[in-house]
Amino acid sequence: MNDRLASIRQEILDGIEAHVESRAAAFELRKQFLDSKTGKIGQLLKEMKSIAPEERAGFGKSVNELKEWAQQRFMELDEKMKAKELQRRYESEKIDVTMPAEGVITGNLHPITQIRNQLIEVFTGMGFEVVETREIENDYYNFTALNTPKDHPARDMQDTFYLSPEFLLATQTSAAQIHTMEKKKPPIKMIAAPGKVFRSDDDATHSPMFHQLEGLVVDKKITLCDLKGMLDVFVKKIYGEEATTRLRPSYFPFTEPSVEVDVSCFACGGKGCKLCKGTGWIEILGAGIVNKKVLENCGIDSENYSGLAFGIGLERTAMLKYGINNIKLLFESDLRVLQQINDN
């Protein structure tokens, strides 16, 4: 009898060893031995009757041991087959990972919008409120209130597009200073954006339409030192921690004193290169202390309040920052250009 048990055990071992390649085959094999009705081990128990009573207990124990042993083997076999099948599945799904990506195409904001957002982030972080500007202005807000009366030579600095004797296309976002100061009392801290402005100029570095970001601070005791301090923070955020500023005298009718602001060349760090034309500095914006006549035009007491103002050209900033070589590229909507600037 023990021989029978031993031969079944050997049969199981041989079966497992030999042909089994899948979980289904393993299950079939298992059935041959462990099926409750037809399995060979089950059959053994049916022979219980023919066993001598005194041997029955021993026989039953041996059969149960065999059964447990077989169950354990088939469980292992199943685990093995499971792993094998998984491996086969993975192998069947092998791909060439160097084939091109299938992606959702994501568009970009316009480079000017990207720059605008970066600037807005810097200035709102400093406590500036953002206001919108008009594209069509009247003579008073664009010029007269900004201390540029009719016969003023500064009107020639900006070739103006006129729509009527009174209305014109804004030549600068500075009109937003007047609109803001008429509506609000100090303290004022505002930037005007996006600020499309227009000048009758059309060549490789000039476009008849471009964008400015105007800034204005009016409060007690605002000085040139505050302007410099604010601009130092600004350039570090936009052009990197190493960037420093330089002020030099200039002229705008609506600021006195007026300055041009240069940033240390971020391409060469100030040593002099092609970008900065060997000077180590790049002109980035115009600024100044608000002309007291402008404050007075808006009904602000210039004895007690003073202000600073600045205007940043967004095209220039974008061109410098991204190395765009022709301003016209910004307005032609060529996808090959728009796809490149991804600084959203």
Partner: protein, 806 residues
């Protein structure tokens, strides 16, 4: 403005290098756009004495022995016809650089380096040079214009550098002058600034002259239009001998690019450059009536200017007349009738101040810009008006080309050229700057600027020279102080005294940014197009003559017709952008723009027009369809938490059966559709294009909607699929509307199949929908949804004759 260093040095001692001077000028507000040495390309050229000069047989060449002082003696072959033994000429030594000329010996074709050579078997170590090869014109040096060797003076020392002799060692500063400093549009003006910034003394040019007793009897000057001519000075000069100006004067004019003409004319040009005051000289023989009259031109009055152009004038133009007729266009150009000729013997000099606005208008309206008008437009001060006349008369005497009479007429509206007093508080000046400036520094700077400062406690008293018309109050003083003291003294501070403010974007901008990002996430690229467009763009859109989009605001002075109208639609720019992309090979893409369209209340404008924020989307390529564009429209609605509805619409530039109006709460807010094939053809489009426009202003009412949460359904939802058969003309929208109105528990209706063909009757189609039902207060009973479906089917049958597909 061009300023030669040598000329500046007449009026201020300059001990620093040109490069240091450039930096100094830059630091005090005068940007040097270009600094150029006159002989920058010339090097290694010295005085050469030709000791022997033998012709080379059968050629036009000579072989010369040239002595060049300490540099040695060289054998040089020369082809010029004026080479002589004993003559002194510029000799370019081996290694020297000079200009290379074309075969004509006159056209410069770049710079060359002199090398040892051999001509017809003769060694040649260097080159004898012409004026052209050294970049020297006749006006810079007499004889330099000759097509042969430039002959140097007898006293030139062999071996000496020729550059100082020929004026090639000078430096030209091209300085940009800001609009607030018209007084610096001259050599003298810049010299004053240089003196101030270098702590040197400024010397005024010599202004003295001696009047003779001769008078022009009965001569009068009348200024009728004093508003346009606040000052007019005339001075009579006689015994004039017209001739050439001296070399020094011709050279200076040449350095600034002015041709020498004759001594009298050159004096007027020289004085304008030096003093910044345009001057004019009339030939007295041609002045009728012994008078000058300054008046507005009569309507239709004509004048022929020195350049032989005839102009028809009107009362906006100011003219200088003699007793009878116009003889000059004030501030712009003199008249041909009284020009200086070789035969001129008497001259009336004019030095006047004209209103800048009027000169500008005249110059613009006649399209005539001259050096004089440019100066007047920026502004000429009376200080210069007075001194320029003195300078001109001084030069008449210095050049010996005439005699100064005692007929001097000065018509003045009462302005003084004496300094005017000004008092400012030093504290206020420092409050602008934010730093304290030592009193002695303020005194030094103000003194250098000739402001005669006196400090008494906080009070600074200044005497402002008449040419500084820009000086008005303490901020101007602050600017003068800091530009001379140095902006590097400004200490960065970050508004330590300012109050804290909230930084934020307005809600509209935030919403717009959200919309832009949503569109980017759908693969669309943002564009920015010009705010103006072309009348032909309106034609491209096939808009009828009475279309509201044709009511566009016109620019009075556009760059060209293409950029002459303010946009009333963004679609044309978008279509053009698509066309440009396709021409460059980008055949697939999504673009959008958010910009303003301009809607005038009335034309011409009497008030601000409406600036309406508008969205335009343009998509193109084989992967796109009406429905992909509609997907973008739906994304717009999602952004604002609203729903759009759609209905067929007709637009002249869209496909008649693939175009829809977009509605929000019953109002049409925009459209979308396929670009009509004739429009596409006109644009050379190679793939189909679709365009959408939405007036964002009309959605503004929804800008305050915010994201909100609806609790998840408490009870299980159910869905049913219905395949419906209907007339082909019935739209999906109609079916949806009936279904929605039939049952309040409908959560969503989704079309998943459309079928026409064999299994369906002729003229019919099948549409299959998935309907989703959400229970509200309590769970659905087993037959609830069946009842809903029954009611829906009944309504569909009654209203649209729709059957359930069997």
């Amino acid at each position: 403005m061009l300023v030669p260093l040598s000329w500046l040095k007449d009026y201020v001692d300059i001990k620093v290098t040109p490069q240091v001077l450039e930096e100094k000028l830059f630091s005090c507000g005068f940007e040097v756009e270009e600094l150029q040495e006159t002989g920058k390309d010339i090097s290694g050229v010295v005085v050469g004495l030709v000791e022997t000069c033998e012709p080379i047989p059968e050629t036009h060449l000579h072989v010369c022995r040239v002595y060049a002082g300490s540099h040695g003696t060289f054998q040089i072959c020369c082809g010029a016809d004026n080479v002589r033994a004993g003559g002194k000429y510029p000799v370019a030594l081996v290694g020297a650089t000079v200009y290379m000329t074309a075969k004509d010996h006159k056209t410069v074709e770049g710079v060359m380096t002199i090398k040892k050579g051999k001509l017809r078997g003769y060694e040649s170590e260097g080159m004898l040079c012409s004026g052209t090869e050294l970049g020297v014109s006749e006006n810079m040096f007499p004889g330099a214009g000759y097509n042969g060797l430039l002959v140097l003076p007898e006293d030139a020392q062999p071996g000496e550098d020729v550059k100082p002799i020929l004026g090639l060692d000078d430096w030209i500063f091209d300085i940009s002058i800001t609009a607030n400093r018209p007084d610096c549009q001259s050599i003298v003006g810049i010299a004053r600034e240089v003196a101030a910034v270098l702590d040197e003394e400024f010397r005024m040019p010599a202004l003295d002259y001696t009047e003779t007793a001769v008078k022009k009897d009965g001569f009068t000057v009348t200024v009728d239009a004093q508003d346009l001519c606040p000052r007019y000075i005339g001075h009579y000069v006689y015994d004039v001998k017209i001739g050439e100006s001296p070399l020094w004067m011709k050279r200076r004019l040449a350095l600034i690019g002015q041709d020498a003409i004759s001594n009298i004319v050159d004096i007027t040009n020289y004085v304008m450059l030096e003093m910044g005051q345009p001057m004019h000289a009339f030939d007295c023989n041609y002045l009728e009536g012994n008078a000058i009259r300054v008046r507005r031109a009569q309507e239709g009055e004509k004048i022929t200017t020195l350049d032989r152009q005839e102009y028809t004038l009107n009362p906006d133009n100011l003219v200088i007349c003699d007793g009878v007729k116009p003889v000059a266009l004030a501030g712009v150009m003199g008249g041909l009738n009284s020009e200086i000729r070789d035969t001129t013997t008497e001259v009336m000099f004019e030095s006047a101040k004209f209103a800048r606005d009027n000169v500008r208008k005249t110059s613009r309206s006649l399209g005539k810009r001259t050096d004089a008008s440019a100066k007047y437009e920026k502004g000429v001060d009376e200080f210069s008006t007075v001194h320029a006349m003195e300078r001109a008369l001084h030069l008449i005497e210095e050049l010996g080309c005439g005699k100064v009479s005692s007929t001097h007429v000065d018509v003045n509206t009462g302005n003084s050229i004496e300094p005017r007093g000004m008092k400012v508080s030093i504290k206020k000046v420092e409050d602008v700057l934010g730093i304290e400036i030592p009193g002695e520094e303020i005194l030094r700077i103000m003194k250098n600027l000739d402001f005669a400062p006196v400090i008494d406690g906080d009070e600074l008293t200044l005497q402002i020279p008449a040419y500084r018309e820009d000086m008005d109050s303490y901020p101007d003083v602050a600017e003068e102080v800091i530009r001379m003291y140095g902006y590097d003294h400004v200490i960065p501070a970050f508004m330590p005294d300012a109050r804290v403010t909230m930084g934020e974007m307005p809600r509209e901008m935030k919403k717009e940014m959200k919309l832009k990002r949503a569109l980017c996430s759908m693969g669309a690229y943002e564009c920015i197009h010009y705010s103006f467009f072309s009348p032909s763009d309106l034609d491209l859109l096939r808009l009828p003559q009475d279309a509201p989009q044709r009511q566009a605001i016109r620019l009075l002075n556009p760059i060209n017709e293409e950029l002459s109208l303010m946009r009333t639609t963004l679609a044309a720019s978008m279509l053009n952008a698509i066309s440009r992309n396709q021409k460059k090979g980008n055949l697939q893409g999504r673009l959008y723009e958010i910009a303003k369209v301009f809607v005038p209340g009335a034309l011409p404008l009497t008030d601000y027009p409406e600036e309406r924020e508008t969205l335009c989307i343009g998509i193109f390529g084989d992967k796109e369809s009406f429905f992909t564009l509609k997907g973008l429209a739906e994304r717009v609605a999602d952004t604002f938490f609203i729903q759009f509805t759609y209905a067929p619409v007709n637009k002249p530039y869209l496909h008649p059966y693939q175009a829809a109006g977009i509605f929000f709460e019953g109002t049409e807010v925009g459209y979308l559709g396929k670009v009509a094939y004739d429009v596409a053809e006109q644009l050379d489009l190679r793939s189909d294009a679709y365009v959408l426009e939405i007036d964002l202003q009309k959605l503004a009412g929804a800008y305050d909607r915010e994201a909100s949460f609806t609790p998840l359904p408490k009870f299980p939802e159910e869905s049913r699929d219905l395949a419906l058969v209907m007339d082909k003309a019935v739209t999906c929208g109609q079916v949806e509307e009936v279904i929605r109105k039939s049952c309040q528990y409908i959560k969503s209706i989704r079309l998943f199949d459309v079928y026409e063909g064999g299994q369906i009757a002729e003229g019919k189609k099948s549409m299959a929908f998935t309907l989703e039902f959400t229970p509200h207060e309590e769970a659905f009973e087993p037959d609830t949804v069946e009842r809903f479906v029954k009611k829906i089917l009944k309504n569909l049958k009654n209203q649209l004759d729709i059957d359930l597909r069997s």
